[in-house]
């Protein structure tokens, strides 16, 4: 395989994986976060601790779970605790260094909506809701967000504050008495964004290989800010691509399962 033989989705997952380290204790969401965490574990961060909200602590799945409670998460875990304990001792207890969230709608300050499109009382689309996100966003040491860019997703104003990022920006978290860092990284299929140190507005710091500034702006409904020097995200290595694809192939085979 050549260095350019990868999809934007794969680049997103690999860029997210690179941001993870051996010392992280990660509260993992399903989908791209789960893929990124497991690619990290299978490449440069073999000792990373992955926690799924189903109560599985220190899990090492061979295939990606479809749900956050697949059997393999438990079988490969250091221990499996009850869900109330997970939220009380581990998340609220401040034991999780990093929370990894996705979003249906995201604004420039890292606030997330996964609750409703339209009004809460008479929604156009009723989304699944927050699940663990409201407290993941406030209790984890820091937050990574990963999502595909789109005008419907990266919006000027989210319809509902499912979880709080930097609010209106600046020191809004601190003003609410939240002591954790909040969103420190946004990894999309096109770019890597970091909050501005002062305003906390997400700013593009790295474009994925071959991506233009226009592509970023065309898929983001707010006026995108770019850092003074925007880097290019390093190409996926052969090991990264192979690890991700092997993982996905094992996962697909496993999930075909039984039903027709």
């Amino acid at each position: 395989m050549s260095g350019n033989d990868f999809t934007a989705d794969e680049m997103m997952t690999i860029a997210a994986a690179r941001a993870l380290s051996n010392d992280d204790v990660v509260f993992v969401g399903i989908g791209a976060p789960s893929a990124a965490c497991n690619v990290a574990r299978l490449t440069h961060a073999p000792d990373i601790t992955l926690i799924y909200e189903s109560g599985t602590i220190g899990t090492k799945p061979d295939v990606l779970p479809l749900s956050i409670g697949d059997g393999e998460l438990c079988e490969t875990a250091v221990t499996t605790v009850a869900v109330p304990e997970m939220f009380r001792y581990w998340l609220q207890g401040g034991r999780i260094t990093l929370g990894f969230l996705g979003a249906a709608q995201l604004d420039r300050f890292g606030n997330i909506n996964t609750t409703v499109i339209g009004s809460y009382d008479d929604p156009k689309v009723r989304l699944p809701g927050g699940g663990g996100a409201p407290e993941i966003a406030s209790s984890c040491g820091k937050i990574f967000i990963t999502m595909k860019q789109s005008l419907r997703g990266m919006v000027e104003k989210i319809d509902f504050f499912t979880s709080f990022g930097h609010g209106e920006g600046g020191d809004h978290r601190k003003r609410l008495g939240i002591t954790t860092e909040g969103p420190v990284l946004l990894i999309t299929d096109l770019a890597i964004w970091e909050p501005d140190p002062e305003t906390k507005e997400f700013t593009v710091v790295s474009l994925h290989p071959g991506v233009t500034r226009d592509q970023v702006q065309d898929t983001c409904a707010w006026p995108a800010k770019f850092a003074d020097s925007v880097k290019e995200t390093p190409l996926p290595t052969e090991e990264e691509i192979r690890t991700l694809r092997d993982l996905k192939a094992r996962t697909d085979a496993a999930h075909k399962g039984k039903a027709a």
Binding site: S67, G69, K124, G131, P134, K258
Partner: protein, 285 residues
Amino acid sequence: MVKFVSLAEAIADNLHDGDSVAFEGFTHLIPHAAAHEAIRQGIKDLTLIRMTPDIIYDQMIGMGLAKKVVFSYAGNPGVGLLRRLRDAVENQHPRAIEIEEHSHAAMANAYEAGASGLPCAIFRGYKGAELAKVNPNIKSVTCPFTGEELAAVPAIRPDVSIIHAQKADRRGNVLVEGIVGVQKEAVLAAKRAVVTVEEIVEDVTKVHPNACVLPHWTITAIAEVKGGAHPSYAHGYYDRDNAAYLEWDKISAERDLFESWMKANVIDALPGDFAARVADLEVNK
């Protein structure tokens, strides 16, 4: 005194029109067979409580059993939205339902408070989150030592909790292993508890001293239903039928397809049918 009964009896004796009920299971050990029995019995006006209402609540809502849903994540796990729940919330089909929405942390704490006999739970939560503005059951208390404002939610105290577990023993002690979710809390918080199990064995108390065992005097009724969690799974018995979860997304997308599927697979089916559904998914013991 725990009773060993058929699933039909367990539901008929313990779940009544208008009850609040928690069919719990956090992706693992979801009591599908029991929910299908409730649908067959046509029980009405239920308040359905669950952290993760997934396929079974989509089915119960689609069949018109629910008047209210209390939840924290209403999705088909790993797949997408719950289409029958959406139809009820967005279009009031087949009836309007009330929703009371929380975060996972709030629900988990509320079950824990219910099991603990407390009227409410306190936790550090909902900071900056908008649910606190739309749900009047989210309030706050002030720590009398530090002055910190903490979130408070009422304890969950269902009329009935219904769970699926791996094993019961002949005394009626129930063993839950693996991802144990909030099942223990749901059982202890409820006025009545119904448990379906994969099998009844001689003794479940020797597995491990700290295994999750619910003593017989905390359970109202036990029914043996092999495969009763399908397409969810039972750790040590059979795997999750991930394909069935993917398939549900299509079945639930259209009202007609949903109804014909429900007739064929639920209304005209029996608890005993679950065993065959897991035959190909069994794990080597």
